[in-house]
């Protein structure tokens, strides 16, 4: 019995230690943030004389997309002398609150610049004001944030990407002699995120324009869970039967789930699946003919350019305020 008490005590001590170290570091950094902006900029300046510290904050570490953004930024750091990059993020894109907390902590740690991919939307505005006050440059990637304190934004034009997805779906159906009628479903990653809203909006608008005979269901949100995306797809197949002619999955996790469910139902010939992004399972599904087209973003470039722009800003060079990093419409034949 004493042994177990000892274990429990040890565990709680470890927890307490972890708590101490994090709180002491924030205490050390907090006064800097409270000081006047001018002083803080002076403090930031000597750091720039040494290596340029760039913090890259990604939306979720469980996503191949965001890992590639991080790798792009690391590739820039590896090629460039005097630039250090650290990549951090919450485990899942759905952890919006965690990503905000992480951003706050990173600002307190005082890097020279932050390359930020965040779902936090307006929640990030006030936090980014703190970054500006601390003299930290911010470059956003993928998702724009409503903040005056962002120096540059690098992203896929998601609305245009959604339009390309609709065009690809219609092109595939036309080329394979499938009538442009029936029901199309959208399996959407998360609700209330601008990137996803734009991707779905572009798809819905374009589909209505070029294939008015097809009806598009409201997006079904799956909390970015592959399992939920699968279940949703299974239910859609059962509910709509042969009327269901197409499914649009608007990111990598929804693409994985939709492809798995369609393949298991043996419906790859009856349902035209078009998806965003390119993680390993999606590429396998594309090669197997389950997914017909992938709308692939250049996330490596997004991370690379993000780090490059951040470094340029720290050096006092000017950068463009918005860059479309582009998408690639990829068919199985392109692999």
């Amino acid at each position: 019995m004493k042994k177990f008490l000892a274990i429990a005590l040890t565990m709680s001590m470890i927890g307490a230690l972890a708590g101490c170290s994090s709180s002491s570091s924030s205490e050390a950094a907090a006064p800097a943030a409270d000081d006047s902006a001018a002083e803080v900029v002076e403090e930031a300046a000597p750091a720039a004389e040494g290596d340029i510290e760039i913090a890259v904050l990604i939306k979720g570490t469980d996503s191949a997309f965001w890992q590639n953004v991080g790798k792009g930024a690391e590739a820039y750091a590896a090629e460039t002398d005097g630039v250090n990059v650290t990549v951090q993020g919450p485990a899942s894109e759905a952890d919006i609150e965690d990503s905000l907390t992480l951003l706050e902590n990173v600002i307190l740690s005082g890097p020279d610049a932050i390359v930020l991919g965040s779902n936090a939307d307006a929640g990030a505005t006030a936090v980014l004001a703190d970054a500006a006050a601390a003299g930290i440059y911010v470059v956003t990637v993928d998702t724009a944030l409503p903040s005056e304190d962002v120096s540059s934004h690098l992203a896929t034009d998601n609305y245009a990407g959604g339009e390309l997805a609709a065009e690809a779906m219609v092109q595939y159906m036309s080329e394979n002699g499938i009538a442009l009628e029936g029901t199309v479903a959208i399996v959407a990653a998360v609700a209330g995120v601008q990137t996803i809203i734009d991707r779905d909006g572009g798809f819905i608008d374009k589909l209505a324009e070029i294939a008015p005979g097809m009806s598009c269901l409201d997006p079904i949100y799956v909390d970015n869970e592959i399992d939920t995306a699968m279940t949703t797809t299974e239910n859609l197949i059962t509910a709509h039967g042969s009327a269901l002619v197409g499914i649009y999955a608007d990111n990598n996790h929804t693409g994985d789930g939709v492809a798995r469910a369609v393949e298991q139902a043996g419906k790859q010939d009856a349902i035209t699946v078009v998806a965003f992004d390119d993680d390993e399972e999606e590429l396998i599904a594309l090669a197997n003919g389950v997914i017909k087209t992938l709308i692939i973003q250049d996330q490596h470039n997004m991370g690379y350019l993000g780090a490059e722009y951040a470094a340029k800003l720290v050096k006092g060079e000017s950068v463009e305020s918005y860059v479309d990093t582009g998408v690639q419409v990829t068919w199985a034949a392109d692999l």
Binding site: F4, D62, A91, A94, D227, T231, E234, T238
Partner: protein, 326 residues
Amino acid sequence: MKTKTKTPNDGTQMSTFKRLRSMPEFNLVLIWLVFTIALSVINPTFISAGNVTNLLRSTAIVGILAIGMTFVIITGGIDLSVGSTLAFSGMLAAILMDGGMGVAPAIIIGVVAGTLVGVIQGLIIHYGNVPAFIATLGGMAIIRGVVMLMSNANKVLVPSSVGQFAVLKLFGIPAMVYVWLVIVVVGIVIAKYTIFGRNVYAIGSDQEAARLSGIKISKNICYVYAFSAFCASVAGILMLTRLGSGTPTAGTSYEMDAVAAAVVGGASLSGAVGSVFGTVIGTVIIAMISNGGQLLGINSFILDIAVGALIVIAVFIDKKSKKGGR
């Protein structure tokens, strides 16, 4: 429908209806029947073999978690760590397979390691005198952290043969559903026909009285959390076969789905009340709302509201009818 309800002690003959009415799960089965009939009338696809298959397959994982959770709740405890334990067993098995271990040993190690997590939590709860809510809340975070550390928060792909199990069907029913069924039968047997099962109810009813009557509380508490973790580990392996990869965020918030299923199924968070059969019906009713809702094309946010309302209403009706019956 067969009923095994015994005639009351006073020996008076009851009508079939009255006997059914006296079953604790009567209201629940009624709600389930009403839902099934209503959904089938509105959309006949609901009752089709294809949809019933979908429904059962998508319910199997939470269904298994909920069986373990039922036993925990009957003792008056709660296990918030099951979602993390699910991810842990699946990820451990995936990493072992990725490292070249055979599928069967990897799965066994995953389940055994996951079950040990429950044993440790049971020991902390009993010997450390830490409330179950706190111990498993901490456990939830610790185990999830371990999963992230193990996997570096990446997905770990497993051989495609592992994924075959999720699509395997016997007599038209997905293999995953049989696993759920086995756990359900094991649960019913434990609850009704073993000393351990009776002890679980006794501990939930009055721990002090149970101790005085000679029940070893520590052993039984450990068994209960071990069984819950075992269920979570089995569910984790099923999730692994379904997704075809060890997924670090798998099972996030599933602990709440499991608690909801048990509560809708009539289990009381204050202990001593609950049944495996009730939990199964509870799980299926909750799953029917999202499945039926998607069939009818109902907005997914409205379905969230409906599930929440059901949890509250189910408990309300249960309390009301029991008061009236006495």
